[in-house]
Structures are given as structure tokens and as C-alpha cells.
Symmetry: D2
Subunit: 280 residues, 4 copies
């Protein structure tokens, strides 16, 4: 699979499609987008693996020339879709997103390799292990957060994960981890951003008397809850819903929003440009 | 129809229902809500008019005693559902909400008496008059806004309207009009509040890269876009949507959100308490 | 909690509310509905348990008189909200609804007592037992379905469950079990009924080229997929979605639709009248 | 703009994109879809008009060769996006869809040329004429439907419309008109098809006790309400909604579903294949 972005000009599609056709590549799925504001062009091409006369490494090397010939500013990636995606999940106490992801994996719906779950509380260990997945408990004492994050980073990085999922992980990532995991760390925030940034968004929503609550899956950046948005959804609430009801209803949205965002990320459907995403 | 609110205690429903039963009142629709946060009780009772042995004035006078006996803090209203609701609509240049409301009235779906449409531009005059409704053009010169608002207020107040609808009226109401029309002035804001308060919300939404845009119908208060929310809705957008596309998609949400909020308001379904609404 | 239905007349609310007020009952939540088509009245009253001077048995006995005095046709139920709800779940191979329900129970969001899970395949046994819940494998050989159902019935009935949940259980219940579990057996059908009744609804939906797929939670009756509907929801699909994609997207709707329907059923929010439901 | 479909093979995109690149064509928007079930490939290419060295006629003639070289089964169309789209609207008595379309045209949101509105009742004449659009009243007596349809056909065909919109036109088109307007006649059906085909769908929906009602915009074929679906949407209803309420709520969905379907059709986003649509 190829994802590619560069400043728009004529002939990009012809060049890429021509290259693939010459190589015998059978395009299974292709998406294109031109952003009139930035003048950038984006594409994602899924090629049937066995239709090419060469392997992924060779594709990568040959496509590098195509990309360079189109623009010196181009950014691109060639992914081997046969390589199973590795995921590490960070959690605290709230288990609904974790249960949901593990259920999807167990049901065969999300075909990924969850290498580890790391919790700053121990409470979600049993269910994780029942799914045959290692669980690491890393406590976060108030005076030892830096060490705790160093420990987490070590546990995460050894798996070279395609995605680090903050599944209601209630600790704010330090800037260096945001940097190290840029474009790979996905968070689920329990509000319709940019409304209700930060702590206790359902309380904020209840106080404001909104008629819908939402959830936002976004890439983590050093700027809290302000990273590129991958997916959002909402659910209706009314005057009869207490904060507890909102929390419960909102969870159903958090779960699906995170699961959709994660799937799209792992399928290389999400291209980040500036603080926005193209989701093919 | 009776709407009633007071601090909660036992026996309120029995008292009100008992009063209505003694009077022969046939309850067509009844709603109750107790807010555990404020400890307040709210109800709305629709009584078949001809089931009572007396008229609305007498009902009002008798219910006053019931209300007083339940709580000295109680707030209540007895509406004559046979009285046609009077509405005045304020507009600027953007006509989609006006077209929608006029279409609903013409189709017989919204059975209200639109007494007048007032615009700070003249462009929506023809369509208004084609519907047989008076249109008043009140220009808003930069150095004459106070006079313009005084003129608008005069045109509005002579109809004693049950609702003053700001159907994408792009002028900020002065505090004294917010006060005078408190609980009767409905605005449609073209964002999912509290996101994107103020000017150009679709531009703000586009810049932030949100995946849904929304609309909010709320009562106008002196605090800009911060009044009690009556109704909200959202519509999906994606990376392919320019600001112009967002504006177009958002309009479909603005129209229905305003129409729903207005209907509920005119049916006395909306009870305001603090900065929140109960919508029965 | 009291649920009550009878042909409408004046004074019902006054009688019930009066009875509760005399008994010191603090009404936490009250809903009323009059169906103009059938002329029936429905209500649900949640009373704070410790506000009454007597226990549930006594409430039941006293309310029986109230109900009888209002109508000889009345149907009613007094539930003890302190009694934990017992649930038995029937499954086949597809685990997404089971995973979801178990996750909700484990997360404390659905506070019910899942007494047993029964599967006509063994594959969901491990995850069930990991949640500390007994799993029974009852094979359904083509020539032994009657015996298998007799076995299932025995395993179910010993728990006297408030709900028997068919969580994508792919066997059609025999008429006598539909009868025995009437008003307690909830099924999730993977289409927006009445579209696509019977087998392989996603295949049917794909063939018809619909733009939304749905799910329906309904009470099981002897008439296949035709029982009273409790809840429905839909999700958008497009031309790019294969049957497999529709199945995957539909699952997210099946899960929440079943979970909502089950919650409402267990909270006695669902009153069945004829082939329709009132959901308070 | 080019729309093109043919059995899938390698090199199609390269051939089309290469042709456009050689011609200097600047692709503003491009969409591709391969249907694994039928093995067909579909594409839509929006080319900036002034980027080509030749006019639309020449593009059409040159593209014919490209299309022929790719497949003898290919179907394609080259549209001049500078040509304003012509629309004729058929109505009966219910005006909500007509009001909505006229409002969109008046607001500049739907930039089309409504050449005429034809009604089998006269009641929507005034509003149509207020928008400066000719209205033709063609009565449909029970014993003169054939003649009436002949008259309608004559009034429609003289405009060579890009779309014939049945905006709640309550007469069933005869087979020969379905044939003559194949792929151009859009109907809005007031249910979520395939549920509730035929007359009085809201009554059917109310009787079945569904929890959502819907609307379907589809191409008209000789098989009643069974043509290719362009767009669908739904809105929530509950036990409190009478048939009249369902009708009112459903209208909001009918309007937007028809308006979206019409827009997509006029922008050549809808490619029909068999009884299904690809909507780019």
C-alpha cells in the first residue's frame, strides 16, 4: 500500500498510476484528495501484493524515484499489508474501551496483534490476561511520573508498535513521548472537541446543558487535546440525563470512535497534514 | 396547558392531578422531571380544553392557589392552546432558515401566525411578501445601531409575539432587548456550542479539522451565544469539504434545529431553569 | 417501581399519585402516555424505596386495589428495584454481542447478574468463564433440536431470569418457549425490521443497495422477527462496503441496540401493548 | 467531467490519467471504485475546464477512443460542467419538498435552472410563480390518466431536463415514461425502503411500531419503489408519535434526502450499475 502527499500539479495521478501499471500492479482501492486551501495533493493506493513482479522492498525503492520526480517536498510511505499490525494499549481504571478493543480482536473483527496492555492501575490485568495478552502494571506515584513514563516508554518501544492507543489513559504524555510517538499515538477524548478540553468533560457538558455529548479520537501532540482529529461522533442526551447517565451514554460513542480511528490508522487511511487529517 | 416548577417534595403530582381530576380535566399529555442536582421538580400538563367546567381565566385563577399551596418559590404558566401563537422573525441576508420556516407555515405543518419579518437587508422582502406576510426593512448603519434596534423593538413589540426568532440575524441584540424578550427570543447559532462561539464558526470548524459540524438553538441572553440551549444537532463532514461545503451542509442542520426549537417553545415544552432547559 | 396500563379515563393520575402521596411515596421518576389509537393509558412510577411506610409485598397488595378500582382490564406490575436482575444469555458462534454485554457488566455499567451463558457452539466458553460466569454447551444436532431446546429451557428456567437474551443465537425458538418466555425473551436481529426478515439480512441489504444498515431489538414471539420492537438503530454504508464491511459496521449497531433494549427491559421501562411497545 | 465504467483490469487509471495529463488536464476531483462482486470498475474525474487545450466536444471525441481501447463494454459520459442543469419538478398537493427545493434555489445553494413545476393539483401554483417559475396544472381524472401523462411528458420533454424530480408526486409513472426518463427521474419515497413499499408508508410504520422512520431517494423504474437507491436517511420516533407526528418528522428527512440525491445526480456523482448505485 502506498500513501503519498505533495503540492498539487498536473500529471501526478498519471505518473503514479503509470508506474503501477508498468509494474503490473492491480489497484484494489485508490483515493485522491486535493486540498484547495493548502494546494496539497494526497493519495492512497492499495495494490494487490501478488500482482507486482517484485517485493515490497523493491517497490519502496522504485517508488522513491517516482516520489522524488514529482516533488522534493513529497512525503510518502509504502506499507506491507501482509505485515500484521502491532498495537500497545495504555489504560487506567476505566475498562470500557479496553473491553471493546479486546472483544473486537477476539471476535476476529480487528485483526491486529495486541502486544501488551499497560495500566497505571492493576484492575484491568485479569481480563487482559484472559485474552492471552501480557499486562504490565506501572504505578504513577505523584512524585515519580517521569520514571513511570520512562518505564512505560521502554515497555512500549520494544514492540515497535504501529499504534500506541491511549484507551482512557488518564495521564498526560510528556512532550518527548508525544514527539517519539508522533503520528502513532491515538487518544480518545470524551468530548466533542474543541468543546470541553481537559478534565471532567461530561461534568462540563452537563453544566452547560448541551443536548448531545461526543467523543473525539485524535493523534496525541504536546498541546493537550489539540492534536489532529481522526474521528468524532455524538449521542443525544436530554434534561433527564445526570452526569452518570452522560458518562454511560458517552462510553458507547467513545468505544466506536476509538475503534474506528484505530482501524483507519492501522489501514494507513489517515494522512496528517498540519493539524488536520485526510481520512481515506 | 399548565407548566409548573418548584422545589421537589412529596405530593406535588397528587395535588396537581387531584386538582385537575376534581375539575373534570382530561389530561392528554403529561410530563414530569425531577432534577437531582438542583432538587427542582418540573411538569407540563396538557388538558383537553372542553373537559373543564370553566374557562382558561378561571383555570389560571384556581391554579394560582394550587401553585401557592405547593411552594412560595413555584413558577408556573397557564396557556390557552386555542390561542394561535404569534411570531416575529428577524433576518439578515441569508435566507435558508426563513425559507424553511415560511415553507413549514405554508405547508400547514407549523400552525403559527407569522406577524412580520424584519430584515436589516431588503433582500428577503419579496419572498416574505409572496407568503402574504409583511416585511420591514430596517437598515443597521454602523453609527445608528441603537436607533435601528429601537425601531426593531417597536415593530416587534406591537405584536406581543410568543416568539422572536433570530433566523440568522447577524446583529448582536443589546442587553435591554435580551432582557425585554427574555425567554421568548430564540437564536440559531451555526455551530455545536460551546464550540466556535462568535463570528464565522464554519471557518473555525474547518480550521480545527472537526469531523462533524453542528447547530444550536438557544434562548438569547446578554452573554453572547451562552444562553440556555433548546436543541442541537450535527452533520458529518470530511476532509473533502471546503468551508463552502460546510456552510451548505450546516444549513440543513440549522433549519431543522431552529424549527424544532421553535415548535417546542411555542408548545410550551421548554422550561428554563438557570442556564439550562427542560424540554418535555 | 410500578408499571400500569388500562383504558384511559379521567382521574387515573390523581388516583395513583394520591395513593402514593398518602403512603409517603417519593416519586423519583414518573412517565405517562396515552395512546389515542387504542385509547389506552400507560404509566411508570419510580418510588424511592425507603420513602414508603411498608415493604414491596404490602405495596403490591395495596396497589392491587388501586388498579382494580381504576379498571377491570388494567395490567400492572410492582417491581422491587433492590432485587438484582437475573439474565441468561444464549449465543452461537458470533461473539460481538456477548463480548459487549460482558464488558458492560465487568465495567459496572450494566449492574445485572448474568447467571449463565448457553451456546450451541463451545467457542465462547473461555471468555465467558474468564468473566466468572458459567457456560453451558448445548449442541443442536439437526435431528435433535427438540431435545436441545428442552435442555436449554431447563438450564434457563432454573434461574427464573428477568431476561433471556438471544445475543445472535442462530436457532429459531419453538412456539412453546416463545410462550413460556413471553415478554422476557429479547432478540437482536441484524436488520432494520421489517426489512430483511430471516436469514442473511446483510446479504439482502447489500443486494438491494441500501445506504444504511440497521439492527432491531425485539421481544421474541412465535412469528419470526415480528415481535414488538424495543429499539432500533442504523449506520451508514456506501457502495464501497462489501457484505463483510456491512457485517462489521452493523455489529456496532447490534451491540448498542441490544444493550439499550436490555437495559430498558430490566428497568421495566418497556410496556408491551398488542404488538407495540411503550418505552419510558 | 468524465464518468466511466467498465470491467476491471490493470492499467485503467493509468490510461485515463495519462490521457488527461497529455491533454494538460488539471484533475480537481477524482474518485475510483472497484466492485469485487461484479468485477466492474467505476471512476469520476472532474477536470478544470480551462486546463484543457480543447473544448468539451473535442474531449468527448478523444475520450471515446480511450474508452473503446479499454473495453468494448465500457459506458461513459463527458459532461460540460459549465452548462447549467435543467430540472422539472412534478408535485401533487404536499408542498414540503417543493418549498425546500425552491428555497435552496432561491438561497443560491442549489444552482440549477428549474424550468417548470407541474402539478396534478393547482395548490402549489402560487408559491411556484412567486419564485418566478412557470407552473402547469395537469389534472389527473381517474378515466384520463394516460392523456394526463402524455401531457406531462410533453411539458417535461420540451426542456430536455437533466432531472425529472417527483417531489411527492402521487401518481405512478407508466412504464413508457420510466423507460424514457431512465436514469433521470428521481423519486422521494417516504419510507426506509425496502420497508413499507407503496401507499401510506407512515401508517404502515406506525402500525409496526418501528423506532425510526426514513426516506429514500431512488431512480424511478417500472417496478414500484424498487429502483436503484441514491440516498436514504432516518429520524427517530417513539411511542408518543402519532401517524401525524411521524408524517411531520419524516418530512424533514424527505426534504434533505431528496435534495442530497438531486444534487449528487446533477453533479454526475451517481453511477447506476444493475439495480445499485455508486455515489462518488
Amino acid at each position: 500500500m502506498i500513501t503519498f502527499a505533495c503540492p498539487d500539479r498536473t500529471g501526478i495521478v498519471a505518473r503514479i498510476a503509470g508506474f503501477l501499471a508498468e509494474s503490473g500492479g492491480w489497484i484494489v482501492e485508490a483515493s485522491y484528495h486535493t486540498d484547495p486551501d493548502t494546494g496539497w495533493f494526497f493519495t492512497r493506493q492499495v495494490v494487490r501484493a501478488n500482482s507486482l513482479a517484485f517485493d515490497v522492498e523493491e517497490l519502496r525503492s522504485r517508488f522513491a524515484e517516482v516520489a522524488a520526480s514529482l516533488s522534493s517536498e513529497s512525503t510518502w510511505k509504502v506499507d506491507d499489508t501482509d505485515e500484521r499490525r502491532r498495537v500497545v494499549i495504555l489504560v487506567s481504571k476505566e475498562g470500557h474501551c479496553l473491553y471493546d478493543l479486546l472483544g473486537r480482536v477476539a471476535a476476529g473483527e480487528l485483526d491486529v496483534d495486541v502486544r501488551a496492555v499497560i495500566g497505571n492501575h492493576a484492575s484491568l490485568g485479569d481480563i487482559t490476561r484472559a485474552h492471552g495478552i501480557p499486562f504490565h502494571h506501572v504505578p504513577f506515584p505523584a512524585d515519580g511520573k517521569a520514571e513511570a513514563f520512562a518505564h512505560v516508554a521502554k515497555l512500549v518501544d520494544e514492540h515497535e508498535p504501529h499504534a500506541v492507543v491511549l484507551a482512557r489513559f488518564m495521564q498526560v504524555l510528556p512532550a518527548e513521548l508525544c514527539e517519539a510517538w508522533a503520528g502513532r499515538a491515538l487518544n480518545i477524548h470524551h468530548s466533542f472537541l474543541p468543546s470541553f478540553i481537559g478534565a471532567k468533560p461530561y461534568h462540563q457538558a452537563h453544566k452547560r446543558g448541551v443536548k448531545l455529548v461526543g467523543a473525539t479520537c485524535h493523534y496525541v501532540t504536546a498541546d493537550l487535546d489539540a492534536g489532529p482529529i481522526v474521528e468524532q461522533d455524538v449521542i443525544r442526551v436530554d434534561h433527564g440525563d445526570s452526569v452518570v447517565d452522560m458518562v454511560r451514554k458517552g462510553r458507547d460513542i467513545e468505544k466506536v470512535t476509538l475503534a474506528r480511528g484505530l482501524r483507519w490508522h492501522l489501514e494507513s487511511r489517515v494522512l496528517v497534514h498540519g493539524n488536520k487529517t485526510v481520512v481515506f
